[in-house]
Assembly symmetry: C2
Homo-oligomer: 181 residues x 2
DNA sequence: ATCAGCATGTAAGGCGTTACATGATTCA
DNA sequence: TGAATCATGTAACGCCTTACATGCTGAT
């Protein structure tokens, strides 16, 4: 597997569940996963063909007749081992890039209102995302009997908890700016 | 300026304050900023020379005699304008990649203990980072009279608030896993 | 004298984004 | 019939990480 290409693991994780096309994989990533990882076609298709070459996944043509054929990918034993090795490894990099905080950090180069406005934009975005996460949570709560869903559920509550912390911080930050600047 | 290279703005933001060498810039980024943005020499030096070519910064050789000469960079008016335009723009991308959550999401491929262990590693890291952030906070609280410091302070409290939310989530997640799996 | 830290870069390689290209299918 | 969505890719370009290369300075 490519040395540092995490998309490979995302794909293996998804395929562990069920066979999928590249297009399906993109859709899955664009769902709940998109809150903590992203993927694009220009990312996924090359990864799939590399992984097929190295035997982590196998192609399975869909057999629905008459229809145009789709390429379903299936995880191999080697792919499963790779996935499990990764899950068992201690190493995990959380790489966070907040342009919002960058703008705030350098806010001294402009006026207070600019900083307040930028916090407002952030707040707006967070509120919208939070609404989506809450609908995910509700949906998942109905199906928590399946073990997998517990894992999905926990990533969603992670998002909700941190986004709520963001909102709380926004309120405090606006107050602080108004008092101090 | 390069179209999407955010490091340019980081550098301009830092230089708005004071003249710095490339080495200094790296050290600044490795401080409190590293919690929401990263930079490397292989990133910073090329950016500096590009920005000099496009007139956003100017070289100023340090004049301390006898010493080996250092290259101090100074922000130009054009650079200041670029910085302010960026601060005034609504657009801000927060790009978050949590490998920890990826592992949790795909946790169903392994056992509960693996997931618990991975949450533990995350918790450990968060605790360590939180301790650093708290010392930053204490230091900054003593100098909040300077307007710039309020902005720095707010980015630090952002870190503290979210990291505390992470820890709270960790406790809940471990409990949920123990009950449900 | 030696080691850590200061200081400036370059080069290779990898990864990802974006846009482009193409065509089928389904639904209104 | 037209638009949206399904479906699979490729190509260019840009950015970043990592490692390498080099030499100075200050402290112990």
């Amino acid at each position: 597997m490519a040395k540092d290409r995490k998309i490979d693991l995302v794909i293996l994780g998804l395929l562990f569940h069920e066979d999928l096309t590249g297009y399906d994989i993109k859709k899955r990533i664009d769902g709940a996963i998109s809150f903590f990882w992203k993927g694009s076609f220009g990312n996924i298709y090359p990864a799939l063909s590399d992984m097929e070459k190295s035997g982590l996944v196998k192609k399975r043509r869909s057999e629905t007749e008459g229809r145009r054929e789709k390429i379903l990918y299936h995880i191999t034993d080697k792919g499963t081992d790779t996935l499990k090795d990764w899950l068992n490894a201690k190493q995990a990099t959380n790489d966070l890039k907040y342009e919002t905080l960058l703008k705030l950090y350098f806010g001294g180069a402009q006026d207070k209102d600019t900083a307040l406005r930028n916090i407002g934009y952030f707040e707006e975005q967070v509120r919208a995302d939070l609404a989506v996460l809450r609908t995910y949570k509700e949906t998942l709560e109905k199906v928590l009997d399946r073990k997998d869903h517990v894992y999905y559920y926990l990533t969603v509550t992670f998002g909700i908890d941190t986004y709520e912390a963001y909102l709380k911080w926004c309120r405090g930050a606006k107050k602080t700016l108004n008092i101090m600047c």
